[in-house]
Symmetry: none
Subunit: 231 residues, 4 copies
Amino acid sequence: MTVGYIITIGYISLWVNGMTIAERKEREKNLRREMILKSAKKIIATSGVEEMSMNQLAEATELNKATLYLYFASKDDLIDAIVYEGLKILEKNFQESDMRSKTGLEKVLNHINAIFAFYRENPVYFYTFNHQERRKASLRMETPFAKEGNKIAARIFEKTAAALRSGIKQGSIRKDVDINAFLILMYAQIYGVMHTIYTKEDVYRDVLSLESATIERSTIEFLQYYLEVIN
Amino acid sequence: MTVGYIITIGYISLWVNGMTIAERKEREKNLRREMILKSAKKIIATSGVEEMSMNQLAEATELNKATLYLYFASKDDLIDAIVYEGLKILEKNFQESDMRSKTGLEKVLNHINAIFAFYRENPVYFYTFNHQERRKASLRMETPFAKEGNKIAARIFEKTAAALRSGIKQGSIRKDVDINAFLILMYAQIYGVMHTIYTKEDVYRDVLSLESATIERSTIEFLQYYLEVIN
Amino acid sequence: MTVGYIITIGYISLWVNGMTIAERKEREKNLRREMILKSAKKIIATSGVEEMSMNQLAEATELNKATLYLYFASKDDLIDAIVYEGLKILEKNFQESDMRSKTGLEKVLNHINAIFAFYRENPVYFYTFNHQERRKASLRMETPFAKEGNKIAARIFEKTAAALRSGIKQGSIRKDVDINAFLILMYAQIYGVMHTIYTKEDVYRDVLSLESATIERSTIEFLQYYLEVIN
Amino acid sequence: MTVGYIITIGYISLWVNGMTIAERKEREKNLRREMILKSAKKIIATSGVEEMSMNQLAEATELNKATLYLYFASKDDLIDAIVYEGLKILEKNFQESDMRSKTGLEKVLNHINAIFAFYRENPVYFYTFNHQERRKASLRMETPFAKEGNKIAARIFEKTAAALRSGIKQGSIRKDVDINAFLILMYAQIYGVMHTIYTKEDVYRDVLSLESATIERSTIEFLQYYLEVIN
DNA sequence: TATGAATGAGGGTTCATTCAT
DNA sequence: CATGAATGAACCCTCATTCAT
């Protein structure tokens, strides 16, 4: 049961148990936005990013096509929003991961783990990241979301950089590792592995009896080998 | 002047100076096919794979749109043909590379180099490989070219595998390298680095002062570090 | 400080210092109406009549789109209101012009001048007059504003007619001028010249070195030539 | 009955009674083009230029919407084609008119007549001319048709200029007429009169008992009065 | 009074593909 | 073998307008 009473002053009515009408509307709007995003992600998960059309999305959400445009300025904007969402989740995962890690090396390895886990749970984000990266390379348009997304991406990148630096300082990571080069290679490695898993998982399982979990583990060991101090 | 004479038996006519009419026609057909592919690659190089339309291609080749379909069953088939072509080139490059390499380690590193060089000279193949891989993952349609392409890909893959095996045997590569795992990681690494270069080259150059050539070199050193025997 | 007191009888409250609440509300409503019209004209001035959308207008006025419909029954009605406004201004200009003119001929010529000046200062009205005239020809819908506007147009027309009649009577205008025919031709002439100026000004300036001011002057001389008594 | 026989040489077949297959195809293509234009003009005649949609046109022609784009690059191009067509007709009418005229004055007056007759028979051209003039003023895009159309327009304009010059020379037109100024005013006058007729014909007929034929006649007399030499 | 949200209808354009010839 | 012509389906997006609140 919800307890509350109403105060009305002029045009403004408050439902006094913590939420004004304006707030409720705001919340409802966000819910609908998220519902649209959810539908979009579902479609992308099954048919791919470029295959998702606003027509399809309108049908899936049972909304009018024009309504979608009340929540997102364009199809591109919508995809940027998904990307943004994904990046936010990933950043949070990194934060949590850092709290569970002690040495710099541990942090880095847990970052890799976090990314794999993230993509494993939400393949959609891999598709959309990939799509927008390729798209943006040619257009370089900066929608609000894209801009904000870039900032998060930079922060994520920097988190791993910091872990590398602290690892080197503490001695858990080799001194002669070039941080920038390693960062690029590491993210490229992960990207390539994910691409491999998404496009050839079945082949590798059938031909080489390699599960994707195994491939992920190998990736981590591989990168770890490069970082580790040799005694 | 071409010397020759014609024998006609029923419907079949031979132009007897080394080449039958059927052969000549076959050759002409191939020439036109290649001309079409060349145009397609040019378009892809400038506008991307999904942006290349059959309309555009018809205009560029000065052929009728319907004619294109005499040479390729579908747009997809045409792209598969480009992929196939690329794989053939790459295989040849591998063969030449192997001839210049002595130890197993050298062979592997030269393979990597060969791939980078290949993509550097023909970005088109990266776009098309990427495109078809992502596409095929969901459709898994097996056009003749796709099938044949897979065989070449397997042979390429196997070449590196052989190099790894011989390197281990000879002692130029660490004994405890898991060949399959490394192969997957290596190709994923290269793929990821290429993606990085194509989508973020400018960013890395501007922000980190890293040229793509440098990144490629780092990749090789990175992989080499993993393979090398430590004294 | 505003002195006043309130009388309430049933639902009706009066704020007795000269203006009833109803009156104040009426006035506020008019202010907002005019604000909307002002924004609409600004948009039309830059993008044209058919390009002005209710969306744009809502944004420009910082009002909700639905709110616009509280002040104007439809987009068409809104444009009719602008037309009406323009006609009112023009009528006033005619009145002022008449006060500065002596002979009938002078009055007519000053009318022409007044129209040119009016359009020069407010091109928006030319666009909207033109737009609605063409539109109404096929639909002939009679919104309240359109009706009222027609009345003003008739009065304006009549003012020039009166000037012509008095000119003939006084002897400043040729006796054998057919008033109705001349009126139509004169308004058509002005309309055509305005259209020419708006659509081809640059051409005429570049090719014939004719400024629009010159064209306007020629128009007046041209019409004057027809009216003038020859000695 | 059509007499003819066929000669086949290689790929080329001739239907020997005056027309090759290629020619016939060409002719058929032109017929279809004209059929489309005819439908477009019909729609424009009833609903106006901006109201004509490609959807509507596809329905009217019983062609697929995409098919329309085989004949016209865009809606704009289609309208330009109508404009071009109209200008060609008008130019021809001018030529015929010139042949029937003796003095320069006669030529000019017959030009005016020719324009009125032209618009009377094909109101569509007035709508489209008007539409494209207003449109082009802001975009100034130069489709092939628009370019060619401009050339015809210039020739038409020049024809009247020549008539004026010769009239002045011969003495049928007043010496102190400024040719450029008059040309602009004359075309503006005609344009304005046509606009008046199309948008207010019924009003003038009902209120002033003025038929459009009468208005046209007045226009000619009006312009004639300005040109004529006074004795 | 004012508004946020929603919508049906339609805009022009492009796509890969397939006929009959 | 080659082509001109055609097409259905889909694309993203925008419009003026109307609800319930």
